[in-house]
Symmetry: C2
Subunit: 341 residues, 2 copies
C-alpha cells in the first residue's frame, strides 16, 4: 500500500472560494457576513472535483490513500479574527470529511485549526476534538505563523502552544507544521515562506527541549524538511555547539520529513542523509508545482518516481510508503486495520 | 590558487565588541556615545587575531586567499539609527581593510553597508565608494532584511534597492546577500534566519525581472543557496508555472552559490544540480559551526575536503576554487593580476 501523507483539497468547487470571498469582504461590513449554511456543495460536485483531479492522478501513479486536509494556502489565518477563522476552518474540515466518506478507500482527513494571530491556541481545541471524534481525522496541520509572514507568535517550543500538544498527545495524533499564504511581500508563499517555515520549525525544536516535556509528540516537517536535510551537517554542528544530544536522539523520535521534493537529486539526498524511519511518502499534489518537468517528461510532483529510483532496498521503500505512516499516524493504522488492511 | 569568497572577521580583538556595547548602551543616552577614535586596536593585535585563527586554518587546509568582510552577525543593522550604523560600518570596514594590508597575500576586503531599517539605501553609497576606491574592496555584503527578522524592507527586486545596484554595476562588484542577527525569537540566527534569507532572496529574483533592468548585476547567495539547490526541481517548476525562462537563462548569469554546506552529501547535491560555473568555493570560517564532525574527524566547515571528494573533474574544481571567483569579482582578478597571479 502506498500512502501519501500530504494532500490538500486544492480543487474544491468554486462555490467555496466565492463564499470565502464574501466572508472576507464582510469583515469590514459585518451585516453582510454570509452564514455557513449559505454554502451549498453537493456530493456530486465533491465527487467530480476529486475524481477528475486527485483520484485520477493517484490511480495513474499507483497511490492508494491520501491524508487529506484543507488547502494550506487558503487557511489564511491572518484574515479576520478568531470567529472568522473558526467558521472557515469548520467549513473546510467538513468538506474534507465528506470527501473521506465519499471515497473512504482513498482519503482520510487531517484537520486545519481555527488559529488567529494573538489568540490563545487553546481556542482551537473544540474544532480539533470534533475533527478527531466525529470526523475521524488522523492528524492536524499546525501553523507556526498565523500572522502569515510576520512571525509574531512565539516559537513552537513556547508554552503558548502546549494546549494543542496536550490534546495531540491524548489523541496520539501528529501535527504537520504547515504555514499558509504569506502576506509579507518579501516571502513568496510556496517558493520561500513554506520552505523557510520548515527550516524555522526544525530549528525551534533543535534549540529547545520540547520533546523532553512531550516525549510522544510528533511533528511532520513537510516539503522534505525545507533546507534541513541539505544542511544536515550544519544542524549536527549547531546542536553539538549547543551541547545538545546527537540529532537522532534529540529530535528523530519526534520529527519526521515528507518526500515533497520535486527532483531526483533532492530525494537522493533526503534518503542518503535522513534515517529511513523518519521519511514519509508524500507528493502534495495537486499543489504548488503542477507542471511537467521537461527534463523527465513527468510531473514535478510525481514523487513516487523519485522514490522508485532512489538507492534504497524494498524494505526501506515499504517503510517510506506505508509502515512509517502507520507508526506516526496510529489512528490511520487503526482505521486501516478496522477495514482489514 | 584556492580562494575562499566568504570569510568574516569573527575573531576581532575584544576591544571592538566593548566599543560596540558602549555604542549600543548610549543609544538611549547620547551623551555617553563613544567616539570612533576611542577604539584603539594595534596592528599587533590585528595580526595575532588573524594568525592564530583564520590564517592558521587557511594554512592547515591549503586555502590561499579569503574575501574578508566584517562579522555578519555583528552588523545588526536593526540597532539604532543610520548614524549608529554608519559609524559602526566605518569602524568594521576599516579593520578589514587593515587586515588586508597586514596580510596582503591572504585577505582582500568586502564591505558591510551602513543599512538601517526604513532608511533609503542610497545613504550607503558614500561608505561603499570609500571602501572600493580607498580600501580596495572587491564586493559588498547586502542585507535584504535590515530589520533583523521582521522583513519590513521591500523585496530585492524593488526600486528601493536600485541606488545600490547602480553603484555595483558602475564598479562591477557583486553583492553577497547576507542577513545579520535575528531579533525575532522565531528565527535562530545561523540555523534559520541565514538559510531562510538565502531562499527568500533567490525567490525574489525568480519572481521578478530584476536582471533585465541590470543585466550585469551579480548576487552571491551564501550558505549553499539556503534551500534552493535541494529544491531545484520545485524552483524550476515554479518558474515554469510563472512563464519565466528556464532558470539557467533567467537567473544563472547573475546568481551564484557558495559552498558553505557542511557535509559531503550537501556538496554532492550542490555540484550535481547547479552548473559548475555558478559555484564559488567558500567555508565561512571561523563562523557558525566551529566544531569537529565526529563522523569525519574534521571540521564541519572544512569545505575543501568535500570539494576534493565531490564527483567533479580537475577543470571543474579549478572553476570552483579560483576561476569563477575571478570572473564574478573582477576587482579581485585585477588585484591578483597586478601582483602577477
Amino acid at each position: 500500500m502506498i500512502i501519501d501523507i500530504h494532500g490538500h483539497y486544492t480543487t474544491a468547487p468554486r462555490a467555496l472560494e466565492t463564499w470565502r470571498n464574501r466572508q472576507i469582504a464582510s469583515i469590514t461590513n459585518p451585516a453582510e457576513m454570509p452564514k455557513a449554511s449559505e454554502l451549498r456543495i453537493s456530493d456530486d460536485e465533491l465527487r467530480e472535483s476529486i475524481e477528475r483531479n486527485q483520484l485520477r492522478l493517484m490511480r495513474e501513479r499507483g497511490l492508494d490513500l491520501t491524508i487529506f486536509s484543507p488547502r494550506a494556502s487558503f487557511m489564511a489565518h491572518h484574515i479576520g479574527d478568531f470567529q472568522v477563522s473558526s467558521t472557515w476552518a469548520a467549513i473546510c474540515n467538513e468538506l474534507c470529511y465528506r470527501v473521506s466518506r465519499l471515497f473512504a478507500d482513498h482519503f482520510i482527513p487531517a484537520a486545519m485549526l481555527p488559529q488567529s494571530p494573538g489568540v490563545d491556541p487553546a481556542t482551537c481545541i473544540s474544532e480539533l476534538v470534533k475533527c478527531v471524534e466525529e470526523y475521524g481525522n488522523v492528524a492536524i496541520n499546525l501553523n507556526p505563523d498565523p500572522s502569515g509572514g510576520r512571525w509574531s507568535s512565539p516559537p513552537l517550543s513556547d508554552r503558548h502552544w502546549y494546549p494543542i500538544y496536550e490534546k495531540m498527545v491524548e489523541y496520539d495524533i501528529p501535527a504537520m507544521i504547515h504555514v499558509s499564504t504569506s502576506c509579507n511581500p518579501c516571502f513568496h508563499t510556496t517558493g520561500a515562506h513554506y520552505l523557510n517555515a520548515d527550516t524555522t520549525a526544525f530549528m525551534q525544536c533543535l534549540t529547545s527541549d520540547l520533546f523532553k516535556d512531550f516525549p510522544t509528540l510528533r511533528f511532520v516537517i513537510p516539503h522534505g524538511g525545507g533546507a534541513v536535510p541539505y544542511h544536515w551537517g550544519r544542524f549536527r554542528g549547531l546542536a553539538q555547539e549547543m551541547k545538545k544530544p546527537l540529532l537522532k536522539d534529540h529530535l528523530l523520535n519526534n520529527v519526521f520529513f515528507d518526500t515533497c521534493v520535486y527532483h531526483q537529486p533532492g530525494i537522493d539526498l533526503l534518503t542518503r542523509v535522513i534515517p529511513v524511519d523518519n521519511i514519509l511518502f508524500a507528493s502534495e499534489m495537486i499543489g504548488a508545482v503542477r507542471g511537467i518537468d521537461p527534463e523527465t517528461g513527468h510531473g514535478f510532483d510525481d514523487t513516487k518516481r523519485y522514490i522508485e529510483a532512489a538507492h534504497i532496498d524494498p524494505q526501506q521503500r515499504h517503510k517510506i510508503y506505508e509502515a512509517n505512516a502507520r507508526r506516526v499516524y496510529p489512528r490511520l493504522d487503526a482505521a486501516l486495520k478496522a477495514k482489514g488492511h
